[in-house]
């Protein structure tokens, strides 16, 4: 992982720039959008209050039998 600016190939940049121009956004905005989409694909943003998980934790801590 790096905090520094990342080098990408000129080809990739040109493709991104074309896509961004088509959509009327900047390359930065486009990348953010794509990142957002990939995050959505990664599943729920927040930990769900899954009853089975809650039950398991309460059991393991001795709150319920």
């Amino acid at each position: 992982m790096t905090n520094k600016p990342v080098q990408i190939s000129e080809d990739l940049f040109i493709k991104l720039d074309q896509m961004a121009t088509q959509r009327g956004v900047t390359v930065d905005q486009l990348v953010q959008e794509m990142l957002g989409d990939s995050l959505k694909a990664a599943g729920a943003v927040y930990q769900d209050h899954d009853e089975a998980k809650i039950k398991e934790r309460l059991k393991s801590l001795g709150y319920i039998d």
Partner: protein, 387 residues
């Protein structure tokens, strides 16, 4: 029949704890970005917001919520809320942030806690806040002193929690979603919440039993965290309640879990906050004694009970108001001035100072003030009080 559980304050249990995948992604995204370092109390605020303890708050207050909470005890949308939850920053830090930015919130050790989605950045008048929230601008009041010492700007905005760890004492630290499940599992339709910062003595126990006579369940919820010199250590409070739950209360009708949270010593305003928090945990009733969450002589004896007049129904949790309780030697039981007709000469009040002095000297507290088994356990501890 469907189990009816009290809705959280604002009707939605807030959940801003990022899923593992999103927490990992946020860590990557925030690496090297501008960050703010929180103190331990602010970390607790962040975690409590994200876990729904402070529902309907979803982040640190923006200016419209802040102003209305201070002056009218309501959020901007009209929901009752009594204490401002704000993040103070220096002028310099404020100048490094813009509305819409994502800022990393880290603890004093540099551990990444949460993402702050920057909302309003604004100023405030500490004396104005103090007069409304604490009813005084006397800097001898710890809550007022805190506001006077805060940095000059406030930053509001949504919180996304990355670090959902619950150390120390994770094994007795339940989220509202968990207590709600627990109450449902036990079949409790009514639950009395009990706020404390102390090791239980008989007068506490009396109030707890009275509350439990009226409800299906008792939820003892000690606030732990930053203390004043002479306060009981967190570990000791937890051990004592563990003992009470294991040995005295029926397992099917009483439970306890801690609440790591900031104490504001705001008396009546804080009693309202404490009631709302317990409502979020799923309590239908909340015990308010005399001088709830007060400090010194700033608040009238009954101020923390009176503040609920006219707003109790709107908050939606039943307030169980009690007098001070004491052991009456003639009644031969714990009682209050409502139930005992004798004079002070036969009443043994549970003096915190006396209990502390005795225990500090390694002396037992009299059995009419505190259960001998609790006293015995306390005397075995290496360190009882915050130095």
């Amino acid at each position: 029949m469907e189990h009816i559980l009290i809705p959280p304050h604002g009707n939605t249990l807030v959940n801003r704890v990022l899923s593992e995948a999103h927490a990992a992604e946020a860590k990557t995204r925030l690496a090297g970005k501008f960050s703010l370092t929180l103190d331990d109390e602010q970390v607790k605020d962040v975690k409590n917001i994200a876990r729904g303890v402070l529902s309907p708050l979803t982040g640190f207050m923006n200016e419209s919520d802040f102003v209305r909470v201070v002056e009218e005890m309501r959020l901007a949308d009209g929901t009752i809320w009594s204490i401002p939850f704000v993040l103070d920053v220096s002028e310099e830090d404020a100048s490094n942030m813009n509305t819409g930015d994502e800022v990393a919130l880290q603890d004093a050790t540099g551990n990444l806690i949460a993402v702050l989605h920057v909302g309003d950045i604004y100023g405030y008048d500490a004396a104005h806040v103090a007069r409304f929230v604490y009813g005084t601008d006397d800097s001898a009041h710890p809550g007022v002193a805190h506001w006077q010492a805060m940095k000059s700007r406030l930053v509001g905005g949504l919180i996304d929690l990355i670090d959902n760890t619950k150390e120390p004492y994770y094994e007795v630290n339940l989220d509202p979603a968990e207590t709600r499940y627990l109450f449902k599992e036990r079949g409790w339709k009514t639950v009395a919440g009990f706020q404390t910062r102390n090791v239980p003595h008989r007068a506490h126990e009396y109030l707890q039993r009275c509350a439990l006579e009226l409800t299906d369940g008792l939820f003892i919820n000690p606030i732990i965290g930053k203390k004043k010199t002479g306060d009981f250590q967190d570990e000791v409070i937890i051990k004592a309640y563990h003992f009470m739950i294991e040995n005295f209360f029926p397992r099917e009708s009483a439970t306890f879990s801690i609440l790591p949270a900031r104490m504001n010593y705001a008396g009546p305003r804080e009693a309202v906050l404490h009631a709302i928090i317990r409502k979020n945990f799923g309590c239908t009733h909340f015990v308010v004694g005399r001088d709830h969450a007060g400090v010194g002589d700033y608040y009238g004896t009954y101020a923390a009970q009176k503040i609920f007049e006219g707003i109790e129904d709107e908050i939606g949790i039943k307030i169980l108001k009690f007098e001070h309780s004491f052991m009456c030697k003639t009644c031969e039981t714990v009682a209050t001035s409502k139930t005992c007709g004798h004079g002070d000469d036969v009443r043994v009040p549970p003096s915190g100072t006396k209990i502390r002095d005795l225990l500090s000297a390694g002396q037992p507290v009299p059995a009419d003030i505190m259960r001998p088994q609790i006293v015995e356990m306390l005397l075995q501890q290496k360190s009882l009080f915050v130095e």
